[in-house]
């Protein structure tokens, strides 16, 4: 397998893995974690009512653990998919990287290994903590994540050096290089569909910043002020509890709107990136079209139904998860096509024997 195909294969696998992890996170962790945060805030209002500032500080310190639990999972999801995007971008650059084949393959292997280990390390940070760590504040999870980050940096520096050599006039050995402008209908649909998705996400972001951003910021302060005022009078504790609920609803509305904006843009960029690798997807034209249609449909369904969660609740959340799954399935379908091309090239060159 050449460096280019290794990066394409690794990139698609990382994006599919990152998305599957994101889907599992949304179903099994996100809402439960938000409920625990609400409980902590409720306990803080009760501590205010009981005039107990020490308990308040303890509760906010414990909130840190909940935020770490949620934050490391979001980070693992984001870093895995982003490493996949970068791998696909690097695959496009391979014809301009001036190194012998084995060096290019080594750099590609380093990058894919770093891309796998980085999210694993980030995920473990919350669970491993400081157990058996020789450091005062850095646990083994962080060490693994940092090591993986160093692998990614080393691979990127190597690729940059190869590009620099190209800019100085050196040229790589003639090797396999598909025409990146080839790909027919599938390529055109992914390019135009991806650009439309990015455009829609951008328009929605502009709408959000104009209509919701300032309103949400004002609402947050007002809710916190009311919460404190109500908690200051123990007879008003039920009203304070209602404000905690309002605070949770506001946080949910914010998260949903920002997630819709960022996901639709990321799917757009993914579609554009996948348009370049269509010459490597060794499938019949009808299957190639099918996977493109499933990917674009899932890319639209997920953000739209994430937004509709505010009105339709968990039903919309479930449909959004199905949208995410459609994207994962389409990615796996394309991955199979890349593997088939690899098998075909290997059997032609005699590697299979």
């Amino acid at each position: 397998m050449s460096a280019q195909r290794l990066l394409i294969f690794g990139g698609i696998a990382l994006i599919a893995g990152g998305m599957l992890f994101g889907d599992l996170f949304a179903v099994f962790v996100l809402h439960q974690n938000a409920a625990l945060q609400g409980e902590a805030l409720l306990a803080a209002t009760q501590a205010v009512a009981a005039q107990n500032p020490i308990a308040v500080k303890d509760i906010f310190a414990s909130l840190g653990g909940l935020l770490e639990d949620r934050g490391t999972k979001v980070d693992a999801h984001v870093h895995m998919t982003d490493a996949g995007y970068l791998a696909l971008l690097l695959a496009l650059l391979q014809p301009f990287i001036v190194f012998p084949h084995y060096t290019k393959k080594l750099l590609a292997s380093l990058f894919v290994t770093g891309g796998v280990l980085l999210p694993v390390g980030i995920f473990l940070i919350h669970y491993v903590g400081l157990a058996y760590s020789p450091f005062a504040v850095i646990g083994w999870g962080s060490v693994l994540a940092d090591f993986a980050g160093a692998l990614l940096i080393a691979a990127l520096v190597g690729e940059a050096w190869g590009l620099y050599k190209y800019s100085r006039g050196a040229r790589a050995d003639a090797g396999e290089m598909e025409d990146l402008q080839a790909g027919g209908w599938a390529r055109r649909a992914l390019l135009s569909g991806g650009t439309v998705l990015v455009l829609l996400g951008f328009l929605y972001g502009a709408w959000y910043s104009a209509v919701d951003l300032y309103r949400h910021e004002e609402q947050e302060t007002t809710i916190l002020k009311n919460m404190i005022d109500d908690a200051g009078q123990p007879s008003n504790l039920p009203a304070a509890a209602l404000e905690v609920k309002n605070f949770g609803n506001l946080a949910g509305e914010r998260a949903v709107k920002i997630a819709a904006h960022s996901h639709i843009i990321e799917f757009g960029i993914l579609a554009i990136l996948l348009s370049f690798i269509q010459p490597y997807v060794f499938l019949s034209e009808s299957w190639r079209r099918r996977w493109v249609q499933v990917l674009l449909a899932g890319s639209a369904i997920l953000p739209i139904f994430v937004l509709l969660e505010l009105k339709l609740g968990l039903v919309a959340g479930g449909i959004a998860d199905v949208g995410g799954l459609m994207v994962v399935i389409a990615l796996v379908g394309m991955l199979v096509g890349v593997l088939r091309q690899t098998g075909s090239l290997d059997s032609r060159s005699g590697v299979a024997r």
Binding site: L191, T195, F202
Partner: protein, 162 residues
Amino acid sequence: MNEARKLLIFGGIALAAFGMFYGLYYAVFVEHQSLDQIGGSLTATFAHAAERNWEGSESALVSYKQAKYNYVRQVDVHSHWIGLAMLMIVLGVAFGSLHLGERVQWWLAATMLTGSVVFPLGVILQTVHHGVFLGSALAVAGSALVTMALAGMAWGFARTSS
């Protein structure tokens, strides 16, 4: 490589590098202090209320609001600069499939680059003076430019060669 592609790819790389340096500066010199201020002022809002120190609680809440206002915009500026830069690089690679004339391609690339620089710049100006008109005007103008460029590109990609 035509001029439009060069503008998108090299403009994108320059903008990404600038966005990353800005993010590095922010992470090293500002972010931790901002996060401490956000967490500390929210805790202080509740702790002062528990002590029945209402003035202290209110002042901590104002401090929380300001710190969060700045933090959200600073992080947004960093991520939008880099995100738009990445998009420019990818679109630059794809420009060979854009079925539009050279001149139109150049204008689309220039519009995209200008909007990508100006839009986050407007957002960052909003943190210098809250509610400043210039910041909002630049952000709106920049996002309108990016929107127009993307709409033109989507149309160009969808067209079949004639």
